[in-house]
């Protein structure tokens, strides 16, 4: 899949920084200035990144306006499906899933139109 490969400085050993791609679909991207794909480097932290922390990070760094359209409490709002590497996050441990380098996280807003 093009565009999902993160860049890594060749000589620098990957210690605790992870590169991920986030995709927003089904209108969820409209909350993020219409940008569907975000490739980001998460900052170093002693604990491994999980989805719970990732959502917190997205809220603080990508989504400053109207967070209620994306989140509810520490999770996503009803009607948004989270996919980790093309699988329903429910199969992966939901908020507790530990992110791996190069993971693809996809947020889909369900469509209702016909």
């Amino acid at each position: 899949m093009p565009g999902t490969v993160g860049f890594w400085p060749a000589l620098e050993p990957p210690v605790c920084v992870v590169v991920h791609c986030f995709y927003f679909r089904g209108g969820a991207e409209l909350l993020f200035d219409g940008v569907k794909k975000h490739q980001v480097t998460l900052p170093c932290q002693p604990e491994p990144w999980d989805i719970r922390n990732l959502l917190k990070w997205i809220r603080q760094n990508l989504l400053k306006e109207r967070p209620e359209l994306f989140m509810q409490g520490e999770s996503v709002r009803p009607g948004i499906l989270v996919l980790i590497n093309d699988a329903d996050w429910e199969l992966m441990g939901e908020l507790d899933y530990k992110l791996q380098d190069q993971d693809n996280v996809l947020f889909i807003s369900t469509l209702h139109g016909g």
Partner: protein
Amino acid sequence: MADGAEAARLSAEIGQREQELRGLRERLATVLLGDAAATEDGASAFPGDLPPLPAQASLSPADILRYSRQLVLPELGVRGQLRLARSSVLVVGCGGLGCPLAQYLAAAGIGRLGLVDHDVVETSNLHRQVLHGEARRGLPKAISAAAALRLLNSTVQYVPYCGALSPRTALELVRQYDVVADCSDNVPTRYLVNDACVLADKPLVSGSALRLEGQLVVYNYHGGPCYRCLFPKPPPPETVTNCADGGVLGVVPGIMGCIQALEVLKIVSGMGSSFSQFMLMFDAREGRFRNIKLRPKKPDCDVCGDNPSVTCLQDYEAFCGSSATDKCKTLHLLSSKDRISVEQYKKLLDEQVPHVLVDVRPPVEVDICHLVHAVHIPLSKLEEKDEEYLEYLKKRICEEKQRTNSQTSFPVYVVCKLGNDSQKAVKILQELPVKEFGSVLAKDIKGGLMAWASKIDPTFPQY
């Protein structure tokens, strides 16, 4: 005065012609319905008990000729074709998804198609709802679809239901069919159809489309999850976009409806579906399909779980906080003193009262049509307090103020398409700092530009 008389004469003539048109439409509907009643033995009543489809032991020579190109497929064959002929499918929604779905199911030789839709054909439907035509505008969609399908394949039974699927009627209706296709356009109907399918134990082939994207899942099939397993709680109503607001490229629901038809055919012919516990996502912009593995059926699901709390159909509009039949939501953010009618605005224009009119629609809609004197500031720019746009607004207010000596608050009117976004914008304008903008009295125009088009200027485009 001569102009006034001419205008009155023309209005009267338009009124008369419209009445004639209404009469013609009613007659056409009766004729089409009569057709349906003749072939289906009065089956067009809602819901009505249908006789079982006759079990056919073999294909007739006419059937063999008609279906020969699919009969030679080993995956289908005579056995599969006979299964199609004794299967019935309920199509919920005869719109952008339902039209192509019903068309391919009819062409393939399904035994019976139930067609549910509460709506009538409108001009703005025709770009995607390809069974309806210009001549059938104003007719119920279920009737229009049945009439078009009958021309395609007269051997199929069509049962039009001209009403919304409701908690009162849904279960009885769903029980009479083998498979249900959700081609609806709103959240309450999606929960209603799901629960009815779980309670009646029927597979549900669910499609949806918006803008340039589509989604498809087969629910409640071979032990797979139901819609509620995936979405236990409905989305907040303010996060839901419909095709009228968000737009949709007609071919996108066309593609999704065709895939729904494919899955229905696979299910009824015995091939089985590829999308139980899988979601198909289509991104038309990138030309990409994605296949997503979903969670299994959930033991704690409210309707299909081990101890279901939903054992009969409920009030889904209350559950979802939105309507199943309204085309557009109507917001009530402002009190009536903060709003004016299009008639009042017209009077202000005629009297040349100094003011600023702010059009808060997105640029793509302003391109379609606009009032020439309006200042364009998209709602999103107001929401994020975009400095450039606010500066521009301030400048325009100052310029207009030059034209008046009045010491009262300067009037700013806000308009959008239908009068929802304009209310949100007024809320923002009311918070503007008086120090910079002076004293501003912001009001919105009720019903927006569409009310302007229907009540003041008939030459203004409606979209």
